[in-house]
């Protein structure tokens, strides 16, 4: 192997092979991008409300306690399917009311229980957040999570 695999051969394999895999990866990314827009997230419109909700989600760094589609911190429950878990995925108004009620009851202050901070949101922001979570919930995530517990 020593004679066959010289340094320059190893280098050429490295550069050539890497370019090959980058090209394949880019092609698959383009296809995946289309699939997301046209298929997996197409079940519900990406409305202004949903986008506002995503910004609310980001501004308050929810991801650093919760997970969303399994990504994030593992300190608090998964929220990619929270609207299904609450049984309000198909009812926009009800989703808002339940979320509003839950978030305004935080922090619980119960001793020995993880505390969620209180976030001061306007009604518009709270509605947006509820729509964003419904939008995330309707995404086709290949059947994940395995059950409603998330």
């Amino acid at each position: 192997m020593a004679e066959f695999l010289t340094k320059s051969r190893a280098r050429n394999v490295f550069y050539g092979g890497s370019i090959f895999f980058v090209v394949i990866f880019i092609a698959m990314t383009v296809q995946s991008h289309r699939y997301v827009v046209e298929t997996s997230t197409a079940g519900m419109a990406l409305s202004e409300e949903v986008i506002l909700g995503k910004h609310v989600w980001e501004r308050h760094s929810c991801i650093n306690c919760h997970s969303l589609h399994g990504e994030g911190a593992y300190f608090a429950p998964e929220l990619g399917n929270v609207m299904t878990r609450w049984g309000v995925q198909d009812e926009s108004e009800l989703a808002y009311e339940v979320l509003d009620g839950w978030m305004n009851a935080q922090p619980s202050g119960i001793e020995g229980r993880r505390q969620m901070p209180f976030f001061e949101l306007t009604e518009e922001e709270m509605r947006g957040l509820a729509e964003f979570l419904r939008w995330a919930d309707q995404t086709d995530t290949q059947g994940w999570p395995p059950n409603d517990a998330g």
């Binding site: 990866f25 997996s40 501004r59 589609h69 399994g70 020995g112 994940w144 517990a149």
Partner: protein, 449 residues
């Protein structure tokens, strides 16, 4: 130290270890909040603590890489750094940006994409600093000798800086957001950072073992080839459940399985080089960290990564404490320990003296490594129970978490050991003692010589 401009690395290392201290203390606090959830809950909620923990880690590792590059590139290129002033300017931008980010997190100003929470001006600062760096080191290398080590190191640093562009791209569509987010996160730690790691490891082994450069550099190309061949399409193991096509389950499973190979090769490479090497380098602590880094990286990134990478397993384990276990040991082995290896190797030279505090430094290795291993084990047990109760039996998240309290207590204890180890390490490289704690013995004679 052959070149005056290598001295720049000293400032980088000092800033890096200061942030390392902040990072582990943040981690300890987060670990305590798991044990006692009401602690500081109104003043400093968990999400803020976690941002400080993860962001401080990323920035100090990058500072360490930059410092390592400024240290080794003059030796490899056989000339002074193009501009020392630019190197210091870059450091100032990064430190100001980091302090600015931590300050804004504390007052509640931050983004919401995990690990990329930095305010926009800090993100631009990082971009500018990276460009200054690339210009500076590229000019140095172009004018000097080009070796495989500098080629691979620069390629890794160029690519990781280019990928930073995706930190600015945040689509409104959550699934697209997640897909492009991984272009930074995965293609950093499971592709481009591996190039940087392999190059630095090759440099250290070259210096510490005295093995022929041709051999080291050939291995280096083989290792980084396996890293990119597996790591690029291995990105697919993050694309299983975020709204992307189902074929990623197969592509991700197959290619991310191969991601074990570069880590296995790096570990074998390190041990074989030491075996073949004839040099009895006095800096034993640097050698320990180099071997330790490649070994723990193999277990943390390789073995613990493979543990939950197959899509049939990941369907149940995704986003549980299993992920946390893997994340901690992988980062510690691959990137923390490697940086500490460079610091240990470079500091005596940067300060113009013999390697000192070798015993304390080596003790800190075992304390930190033992602590991280223990933490990984308890989180793996916690994650296994969580996966079964929550994902298989369908019990609710918080009920399951309450059942894991014992593991979180043990994790806190493990974290405390890591923090003590980290502080001991910082003491051992920054504070010079007159004598070693234990006097070294005479070198053992080699049988048959």
């Amino acid at each position: 130290m052959k070149y005056q401009s290598q001295k720049v690395a000293l400032a980088y290392i000092v800033c890096a270890v200061a942030l390392f201290g902040i990072q582990v203390l943040g981690g300890l606090l987060a670990g305590w909040i798991y044990v006692s959830p009401n602690f500081l809950s109104e003043i400093l909620p968990f999400n803020i603590v976690r941002m400080i923990h993860t962001n401080a880690l990323i920035v100090w590792l990058l500072l360490g890489f930059f410092g390592a590059a400024y240290f080794l590139i003059p030796e490899e290129a056989e000339r002074e750094i193009y501009s020392v002033k630019l190197a210091y300017l870059q450091l100032i931008i990064l430190v100001v940006g980091t302090l600015g980010a931590v300050g804004s997190y504390l007052v509640g100003i931050h983004g919401g994409r995990e690990f990329l929470e930095q305010p926009l001006w800090v993100k631009f600062g990082i971009l500018v600093a990276a460009l200054i760096f690339l210009f500076n080191v590229s000019m140095t290398v172009l004018a000097g000798k080009k070796t495989a080590i500098t080629n691979v190191l620069l390629l890794g640093l160029w690519l990781l800086s280019l990928l930073w562009v995706f930190a600015f791209i945040n689509p409104d569509n959550l699934s697209l957001d997640k897909m492009y987010w991984w272009f930074v996160v995965h293609l950093w730690v499971e592709a481009t950072w591996e190039l940087v790691m392999a190059a630095i490891l090759a440099f250290l082994l070259l210096k510490l073992t005295g093995v022929d450069r041709e051999v080291v550099e050939k291995w280096l190309y083989v290792i980084v080839a396996t890293a990119l061949f597996s790591g690029i399409l291995g990105t697919g193991h993050h694309f299983y459940w975020i709204g992307l096509p189902g074929y990623w389950q197969w592509v991700g499973s197959i290619f991310s399985t191969f991601e074990v190979i570069p880590f296995f090769l790096m570990m074998s490479f390190a041990f074989v080089m030491v075996w073949k090497g004839r040099k009895n380098h006095p800096n034993k602590a640097a050698l320990l960290w180099s071997l330790g880094s490649s070994t723990v990286a193999f277990f943390g990134a390789g073995v613990w990564g493979f543990l939950h990478t197959l899509h049939g397993v990941n369907f149940y384990s995704h986003g549980t404490q299993i992920t946390a276990a893997h994340g901690h040991l992988a980062f510690y082995g691959a990137y923390v320990a490697l940086n500490l290896a460079v610091f240990t190797y470079a500091m005596p030279m940067l300060r113009g003296r013999e390697p000192y505090n070798q015993v304390l430094n080596m003790a800190s290795f075992w304390l930190m490594t033992g602590g991280m291993a223990f933490m990984t084990f308890v989180l793996t047990f916690a994650g296994t129970i969580q996966t079964h109760m929550q994902r298989v039996l369908g019990e609710y998240y918080m009920d399951v978490q309450d059942g894991l309290a014992l593991f979180y207590m043990m994790r806190f204890g493990a974290g405390a050991a890591v923090v003590i180890g980290a502080l001991l390490f910082i003491y051992s490289i920054l504070v010079v003692r007159k004598r070693e704690v234990i006097t070294p013995g005479a070198a053992n004679p080699v049988p048959g010589e």
